[in-house]
């Protein structure tokens, strides 16, 4: 395919011949409103909002169904085309409740954006004449549908028919009785279902998990990587610090990365943000009692020096590569055996053909690359130092030091709190060998140290 120049709003752009005009407009952030088009779902041409003027064409054309051709001259603004959009938008609003103040989508609703842009806030439609549909339908998979807010863009239904091929959703009925629905008595039920909440351009689909928790304009979105499995899907962490409170994560959303996850993430990964804040280990515990850091570090040294014998260090395969490297060096220094067991245990029940990997450890590849062993020595262990490894094999050790992000039942002589991945930064290598950097997103009022911070403190203490 050849690259050609076309003119949009008196500016020249280079694009691939035969590619979709709307992709170019989106790429360069040339504002055209649209509901139904989505790069992952393709053109459906039903909303008629993406109208542009193309020189030589009598009528406005939809950009989502226009292929880029030589010598094309496009106009996306101007009185004429704005008028066209305003008209269609007004029709879109005819049967749509004007209830943004109580709508959960407010702030990330395209309908709201567009009619603010086109100055249509006061619509002259009499409420009583509107077609009424059902509100608050529990579709299943934690997704709630408000049919009155739906603009019938068919993104959600195309997701279940074309992407997951699970076919739970469809637009049924005809004309203005058409609505999104499941089969009577059936539920939305697939491991990726919650993506339709992100796909929905308006407030018709909301997540039970997120509904009314936060107004979106208060949220900050920061890029990150899901640690739910070795796929390493790219996500946004949406978080906010309310006055007098701690920084809180409200949700994970997919972040586009064509190399890894495309546009979507799985529901389990999406909901895994809860682990970052629920049931956290925040105190240092020495022999079952809270203690201060100085006390803890002293105890650490004592446990380390309490006698000879085998030292084993366990490292969670979800730690960042930089952290693993540091632990590896530390192990060498101590003459300890470093292991990350269970990396070879695959979770076939979780896996599927698409994103979800049977390898649940998000940095298993790094364990492999660093040559960290994945079984346990048979010898008697004198001291076990565990870096957040979900230790399910029973290990018989005389003394145990345990760094933990979340509370666990496993007893230990010394328990030290650890930052979760969103409170730390580092690199993950996904199952396909793609290295992805994960920045620090969350700073707690009273932060738990990261592995690296602990390593420095512990070693200072030792030396």
């Amino acid at each position: 395919m050849s690259q050609i120049d076309i003119v949009i709003d008196n500016m020249t752009f280079t694009a691939e011949k035969g590619s979709l005009l709307i992709d170019l407009l989106i790429k360069h952030d040339l504002k055209v409103p649209y509901f139904c088009y989505h790069e992952a779902l393709g053109a459906d041409g039903n909303c008629r909002m993406c109208m542009v003027e193309i020189e030589g064409q009598k009528r406005p054309q939809i950009a989502c169904d226009t292929l880029i051709k030589e010598e094309m001259v496009v106009r996306t603004k101007g009185e004429n085309i704005d008028g066209v959009r305003r008209d269609i938008l007004e029709l879109e609003l005819i049967n749509h409740p004007i209830d943004c103040p109580v709508c959960d989508q407010a702030g990330e609703c395209k309908l709201q954006d567009f009619y603010m842009d086109y100055g249509l806030y006061e619509s002259n439609i009499k409420q009583s004449d509107k077609v009424h549909h059902r509100k608050h339908i529990d579709l299943g998979s934690s997704v709630i549908l408000d049919q009155e807010r739906c603009v019938l863009c068919a993104r959600c239904t195309r997701f279940t028919s074309d992407i997951t091929k699970t076919h739970e959703l469809g637009i049924i009925g005809r004309g203005d009785h058409a609505c999104v629905s499941t089969m009577p008595g059936k539920k939305l039920d697939n491991p990726y279902a919650m993506n339709i909440v992100d796909l929905c351009p308006v407030g018709a689909l909301t997540s039970k998990d997120f509904r009314f928790q936060q107004r979106v304009w208060f949220l900050t979105s920061s890029p990150s990587i899901c640690h739910g499995c070795a796929k390493g899907c790219n996500i946004f962490i949406d978080h906010n610090r309310e006055k007098y409170k701690d920084e809180t994560i409200y949700r994970f959303r997919p972040r586009e990365n064509q190399q890894v996850n495309g546009f979507f993430i799985c529901d389990e990964g999406r909901l895994s943000y809860k682990k970052l804040q629920d049931n956290r280990q925040l105190d240092m515990i020495l022999n079952g009692k809270s203690c201060e850091e100085a006390e803890a570090l002293e105890a650490y040294r004592n446990l380390l020096e309490a006698g000879s014998g085998k030292i084993v260090i366990l490292a969670d395969a979800n730690l960042y590569t930089e952290e693993l490297e540091m632990i590896q060096i530390y192990a060498q220094k101590l003459g300890a055996t470093l292991s990350s067991p269970m990396v070879s245990d695959l979770d076939d029940a979780f896996a599927d053909e698409w994103l979800k990997s049977s390898q649940r450890a998000s940095n298993a590849k790094a364990i492999e690359k660093l040559g960290i062993m994945t079984d346990l020595p048979d010898e008697k262990i004198a001291l076990l130092i565990n870096f957040n490894h979900p230790n399910t094999v029973s290990i018989d050790a005389e003394r145990v030091i345990s760094f933990r992000t979340n509370q666990q039942k496993e007893p230990a002589d010394l328990i030290l709190p650890l930052a979760v991945f969103s409170e730390s930064s580092g690199t993950l290598t996904n199952e396909d060998g793609i290295e992805q950097y994960c920045p620090k997103v969350i700073t707690r009022n009273d932060p738990a140290p990261t592995v690296i911070e602990w390593m420095i403190r512990c070693q200072e203490e030792v030396e």
Partner: protein
């Protein structure tokens, strides 16, 4: 509850498959057969059809809700469908509707309690030259007058 096509219908479906490039084409024919078999289209029938022609039930359900002639709920033994579009309206449809309403004690959209009659108004039946027109089940009745309607209904009532 479950639904099964009669042997005869199954044979018809198999024969039809050879006539089309894809078995998916058979959703309308199958829905018709199901409707004739049960007088309406049940969700079970939709599932069965899906299996037969390799379409997800949802797609068939969407189809069934798109076309006005498919009934997803049982209708009366005689489904009276009076045309309400322009040519019929110009030629006395209102009078026919009144007559039907009085005679049957039904409003459009209602069924008689004995399940004998359902009255609906439909759009142009493609019989405008012989307006006013109604269709009862598969049969057209044209050039209607109140007297003619009485004769037709009398004979149906006798038959049922």
């Amino acid at each position: 509850m479950s639904f099964e096509f009669t042997k005869e219908n199954l044979e018809k479906i198999e024969a039809l498959k050879s006539r089309y490039p894809s078995p998916k084409a058979l959703s309308l024919p199958c829905l018709w057969m199901a409707q004739y078999q049960e007088r309406y289209i049940s969700l079970e029938a939709i599932e069965t059809i899906g299996d037969l022609i390799d379409l997800p039930p949802m797609e068939i359900y969407r189809v069934a809700t798109f076309y006005t002639m498919f009934n997803l709920e049982p209708v009366g033994k005689y489904h009276i469908q009076l045309c309400k579009t322009l040519s019929c309206a110009l030629c006395g449809k209102a009078e026919m509707l009144n007559h039907l309403k009085n005679r049957l004690g039904l409003s459009p959209g209602e069924s008689s309690s004995d399940g004998a009659f359902t009255l609906t108004q439909v759009e142009c039946l493609g019989s405008c030259g012989t307006a006013p027109v109604m269709q009862i089940n598969d049969q057209y009745y044209e050039n209607l007058t109140p007297e003619k309607i009485d004769i037709i209904l009398d004979s149906l009532e006798e038959g049922s």
